[in-house]
């Protein structure tokens, strides 16, 4: 038995090694670094909780970045869930060539973020962009999108729907898992299509929605690439996402200790939100038992 275990460990040793060196090691080291003044080159210098104290009391950009990220999460997450579920419901219909549609809707989610960002820079261009070009056909002068303080964050929120294909596939799998006898019973009882969605589909889908919600919370609080490429946090810090500001602190302003404290503050925020969601799940997630 012992030898069998050893063989097992030997097989997973490459992963174990990678995990310890590239994940657990940096993870634990960053706890220590968050209590130091560390400019990446010279050895870390212990400063106690000063990074956290300054973060909470002396850095307006920290709060600004947190606020931007919360606003994004508040709108992008529900939007992603609604769009993902709606698309999954449509793509669950028994139509000819439906697999082609599924592929088409899934494809954007596998396009690299960098490529997506560059495409959207054109789509959202105020003068020669696709969106304002379409709006012009209806006599509407579209906003300056990414260059307008009032619209820049909204633009990124709308853009997030582009990548909804990933969660849509999971919703689709969840829909396939709903026992058909529930629908048959509802049909016999005379339930309308809306009632079947409202009282069978959505409740039975809540475990999947919950999963996507948790993953979405974690993902949105790490939102970086699009803001880095498209807006660099501007205009007027309106898209200064938390991860972007953290990156700037670490690599542009060479303040890795402070950035580590920011990373841990973010970790605590995400953990707290996840904890709250787990506590609320008893009220709205149905596991069918």
């Amino acid at each position: 038995m012992k030898q069998k275990n050893l063989v097992g460990y030997a097989f997973i040793s490459p992963w174990l090694f990678g995990f310890l060196v590239f994940t657990a090691g940096p993870f634990l080291t960053s706890i220590y670094l968050s209590f130091t003044r560390y400019n990446i080159i010279t050895p870390p210098h212990w400063v106690g909780p000063a990074n956290y104290h300054v973060l909470l009391t002396g850095d307006p950009l920290f709060w600004k970045a947190l606020s931007v990220t919360f606003q994004y999460a508040l709108f992008a997450l529900p939007l992603g869930i609604v769009a993902g579920v709606a698309l999954a419901l449509l793509l669950n219909l028994d139509l000819m060539g439906i697999s082609v549609f599924r592929t088409i809707f899934y494809l954007p989610s596998i396009v690299p973020s960098v490529a997506t960002s560059v495409i959207f820079l054109w789509i959202l261009n105020p003068e020669i962009g696709l969106v304002n070009g379409l709006l012009r056909n209806f006599g509407i002068v579209g906003p300056a999108w990414l260059q307008d303080t009032a619209w820049s964050l909204k633009s990124l929120i709308l853009m997030s729907v582009w990548g909804v294909g990933g969660s849509m596939v999971i919703y689709l799998a969840g829909l396939k898992d709903i026992p058909s006898h529930l629908y048959e019973a509802a049909l016999i009882d005379g339930a309308s299509a809306w009632h079947r969605v409202r009282h069978i589909t959505l409740p039975m889908l809540t475990p999947v929605i919950f999963f996507n919600l948790i993953m979405g919370v974690i993902g949105t609080f790490q939102y970086f690439t699009e803001a880095y490429i498209m807006t660099q946090g501007g205009p007027e810090d309106s898209t200064l996402f938390y991860a972007l500001y953290l990156f700037q602190r670490a690599w542009r302003y060479l303040d890795m200790g402070y950035a580590s404290a920011m990373a841990w503050a973010l970790f605590l925020v995400v953990m707290a939100l996840t904890g709250i969601l787990f506590r609320t799940q008893r009220r709205w997630v149905h596991y069918g038992n």
Binding site: I41, V47, G58, P60, P126, G129, A144, G234, P235
Partner: protein, 455 residues
């Protein structure tokens, strides 16, 4: 698996292990050495040189390296072109990993930040007293104040950018203006710009006559600056800076912030043959000296001229502006410091400035010192492209500012840019924007103080 003789390895196993160890060590050695294909003088000491000079600059850069190598018996410079995106991170990681290049050419305006963090090493100890005295005596004033931190030289300037006016005589004539008399004051220039603007029936901009942007470029024209070299303190919220920012904001407001955004968004590109000045979208633009060579390449028959941005009529300073130099630096942990310094002197023209004049022609850069500028070959170049003379006039000026040599200079420049953005968008008045800028920097200094930086 048990060995044939208990715990002792067999000869075959021993050989395998020896070969394996040798292979690993050999790979390690290979990975830390320049690619043999890149070596032309394998017997010499390699000097690893990283730069970001791609495109039109790559071939001349490699020619300079080739000439240096031909002039040497001891060192061979091995160049490596890095993509601009991510070059800074790669450079810093190489220093952290103790495998940096020996010399790096870069243009991130962060010499003080990097020097303060110990990423790069001082260069003045490499100079003999005579070399240092010669350097300080012969280079242009702006070079003299660039690349220093806490009294030490950390970055040797090799090429530097100035901003001046490019203007189109054909547009001047079309508007009934005399292109031979470029405005002497900023107020006149603004009026000329208004006459050159063109709008469509709906009031949308079709051509911009002149639109001033760039707080760092314009503040010195109003005798403003962001740093006082005598006191070593930032000077952000000053009457001079306020005048400069107010001017920029008022001019932007006059054309309409939103209208300018839309006009700029409609422009195809900012480079090559699509540069809006070439396409006629702008009559007068403030841009850098590198455009002269691009004009020769992409619009050789187009008539255009250059002139320094004129100062305001009262309280202004002629030949004032802002400079963004390229720096040659030696990172901490560089193996061949002496070889790196030899190359830096060769390339920048600290030795044999007349020969370096040729390098500056190939690169289309401005030389560091009059000795290179006065070389016959460079004078012939200036006769061919007289527009460069405007920038050389500025190089000789005492009133050109560079990024303040403070450890948080990148944060400072980001905040200055934001202050201009807030003011030109109308979110804050220029006065409020400068007050906020000053408050932001005070908070940042307090933050750094609490964390024990800059001790």
């Amino acid at each position: 698996m048990a060995t044939e003789t208990g715990d002792r390895p067999t000869r075959r196993q021993f050989l395998r292990r020896a070969v394996g160890t040798a292979a690993v060590l050999g790979m390690g050695k290979l990975m830390t050495q320049p690619d043999p294909k890149m070596r032309h003088y394998p017997d010499r000491i390699p000097v690893r040189y990283w730069h970001m000079l791609g495109g039109q600059w790559q071939a001349p850069m490699e020619r300079v390296v080739q000439l240096f190598n031909e002039s040497q018996t001891k060192y061979e410079v091995v160049p490596l072109l890095l993509p601009y995106e991510g070059a800074d991170s790669k450079f810093m990681l190489s220093v952290i990993g103790d495998d940096p290049p020996d010399v790096m050419l870069q243009w991130t305006q962060a010499i003080s930040t990097w020097a303060n963090a110990g990423i790069i090493q001082p260069l003045d100890p490499l100079m003999t007293p005579a070399e240092k005295a010669h350097f300080l005596k012969t280079v242009y004033p702006v070079i003299r104040k660039s690349g220093w931190h806490n009294g030490r030289l950390y970055g040797l300037v090799d090429g530097f950018d100035f901003w001046a006016c490019y203007y189109r005589p054909d547009h001047f004539r079309e508007a009934g203006l005399d292109p031979d008399h470029f405005p002497e004051t900023l107020e006149e220039l603004t009026e000329v710009g208004k006459k050159l603007h063109r709008f469509d029936n709906a009031g949308n901009i079709r051509r911009i006559g002149f639109l001033p942007t760039g707080f760092p470029q314009f503040a010195p024209l109003f005798r403003g600056k962001f740093y006082d070299y005598k006191t070593g303190k930032l000077t952000l919220n000053t009457p001079e800076n306020l005048r400069a920012l107010t001017y920029l904001v008022e001019e932007r407001k006059r054309l309409g912030f939103e209208k300018v955004i839309r006009f700029n968004s409609s422009l195809a590109s900012d480079s090559g043959v699509e540069w809006p000045f070439i396409t006629g979208a702008f009559s007068i633009v403030v841009d850098g000296e590198w455009r002269v060579q691009q004009m020769a390449q992409y619009a050789p028959n187009m008539e255009y001229r250059t002139a320094p941005i004129p100062p305001p009529a009262t309280g202004g300073q002629r030949l004032a502006g802002y400079c963004g130099p390229n720096y040659l630096t030696i990172p901490k942990g560089a193996r061949q410091v002496e070889g790196a310094w030899e190359f830096m002197k060769f390339f920048s023209g600290l030795v044999l400035p007349e020969r370096a004049a040729e390098f500056y022609i190939w690169m289309s850069w401005l030389p560091l010192q009059a000795a290179s500028t006065n070389a016959p070959v460079y004078q012939a170049f200036l006769n061919r492209l007289p527009q460069y003379r405007t920038f050389l006039q500025m190089a000789a000026s005492e009133y050109i500012e560079v990024v303040p040599p403070v450890p948080d200079q990148l944060y400072l420049m980001d905040r200055i840019k934001r202050a201009e953005d807030l003011a030109t968008r109308g979110a804050l008045t220029p006065q409020q924007a400068l007050e906020q800028l000053e408050a932001d920097m005070a908070k940042e200094h307090q933050r750094r103080k609490e964390l024990g930086y800059d001790e």
